[in-house]
């Protein structure tokens, strides 16, 4: 995209299930789709292990030999680079002795999580990407409310990792999601207050905030100085009944329709009945000379290529961005 804002596209939507996005030829088709839609940078998302061969630093490096080898792989499809990589330290990861579960809300896990972050920091820096985007805390339904002190403990873990990212010359951006234990606007403000603005930024996801009951345009205007990364997507629904607290909310709410037959929560830009005021949000970014990446994504959506094309159409025909 030829624009003063920098646009990137998230590959996470292609990784629909364990075996769907493993072969290099399938990845090349996704990269060509992104490129044909006018995006020349991508965001990667961490996965659980060996089946996610475009999702974990060690597996990417095994597949491509080096950071440069991976960049060469992207450039075969005319994708020039990586804007950012998403990492959730709460997600189970394959280790030699099985799957490890850790939480930033548990101080006993802090050292291990900081250690776990290092390969991601090295990889993001190594491929010339700008932001390590992270899920700051696990899902709300899995633990009692954090409270102010609990949020401060979470912030301390990210301050430690922020020192690592800063030393490596990259940014660290905490990504709010609608299931997270930091849920309300006040809790989110508390987490931002508990972290060092010099080293820890905020990744604002327009749809996740909207589902969680927070107006993304107003929250951006209030916290523009902290926003270092953006995920742009739409939703047709908000969580109206504390559905994020449902046991197993990842399945029961996000995939199971929250008991009210919601087939999917996240939608492409310009979707009928979308709740996000995308033009107002993008205008606010421009007013503030937002310097970071704007990553378009449609996770849990439908056909990835169709959504990428619809998002590209919206950028060009509604927002007036030149491809």
């Amino acid at each position: 995209m030829k624009d003063s804002l920098r646009w990137s596209y998230a590959l996470n939507q292609w990784n629909l299930r364990l075996d769907a996005f493993v072969r290099h030829e399938d990845q090349q088709r996704a990269l060509k789709t992104v490129s044909a839609c006018g995006f020349d940078h991508i965001e990667l998302a961490s996965g659980t292990g060996r089946w996610d061969n475009i999702s974990r630093p060690e597996v990417i490096l095994l597949n491509h030999g080096s950071h440069q080898g991976f960049l060469d792989f992207l450039r075969t499809a005319k994708v020039q680079g990586v804007s950012s990589m998403f990492w959730d330290p709460q997600a189970p990861a394959e280790e030699e002795e099985g799957y490890a579960f850790r939480s930033t809300a548990n101080p006993a896990d802090s050292d291990a999580i900081v250690e776990w972050a290092k390969p991601f920091v090295d990889f993001v820096a190594g491929v010339g990407a700008e932001q390590l985007v992270v899920r700051p805390v696990g899902s709300a339904w899995m633990s009692p409310p954090l409270g102010e002190d609990g949020i401060k403990l979470v912030g301390e873990v990210w301050n430690r990792i922020g020192e690592l990212t800063s030393a490596a010359g990259i940014g660290l951006a905490l990504h709010y999601d609608c299931l997270g234990a930091v849920h309300t606007a006040d809790e989110l403000r508390g987490l931002l207050s508990a972290t060092d603005p010099a080293t820890v930024g905020f990744a604002l996801d327009t749809a996740e905030l909207t589902v969680g009951g927070i107006d993304p345009v107003a929250f951006y205007r209030e916290n523009a100085e902290r926003v270092t990364h953006v995920h742009l997507k739409d939703t047709r629904y908000a969580d109206t009944g504390e559905e994020y607290r449902m046991p197993g909310a990842e399945a029961t709410m996000l995939k199971g329709g929250a008991g009210r037959r919601i087939e999917r929560w996240f939608f492409e830009l310009g979707t009928e009945g979308g709740l996000v005021d995308v033009p107002a949000f993008v205008a606010a970014l421009r007013e503030n000379d937002y310097p970071g990446w704007v990553v378009v994504e449609s996770d849990h959506g439908g056909n990835p290529a169709e959504l990428a094309m619809l998002n590209s159409w919206y950028l060009q025909r509604v927002l007036g961005v030149t491809k």
Binding site: K32, A36, A305, A308, M309
Partner: protein, 68 residues
């Protein structure tokens, strides 16, 4: 197009330019969904091929014609 198929599209594009053809070139995908494929992705990959491979062949042939 461009994934190991038997049609030499760059050569075809050059001949189309040299011949002075001025009609439509229509991309189509019969049975793109077989084997788990998708029409949307097939369309995007074709556009990528046009932008990155056929455009080059077209430019080369147009330069040849202009130099005649």
């Amino acid at each position: 197009m461009g994934e190991g198929g038997l049609v030499d599209f760059p050569a075809l594009m050059k001949e189309i330019v040299r011949s002075g053809y001025d009609g439509w070139l229509t991309v189509e995908h019969d049975k793109a969904e077989l084997g788990g494929g998708s029409y949307a992705e097939a369309t995007a990959v074709a556009k990528w091929y046009i932008d990155n491979v056929l455009a080059e062949a077209q430019a080369e042939a147009e330069a040849e014609v202009a130099a005649r």
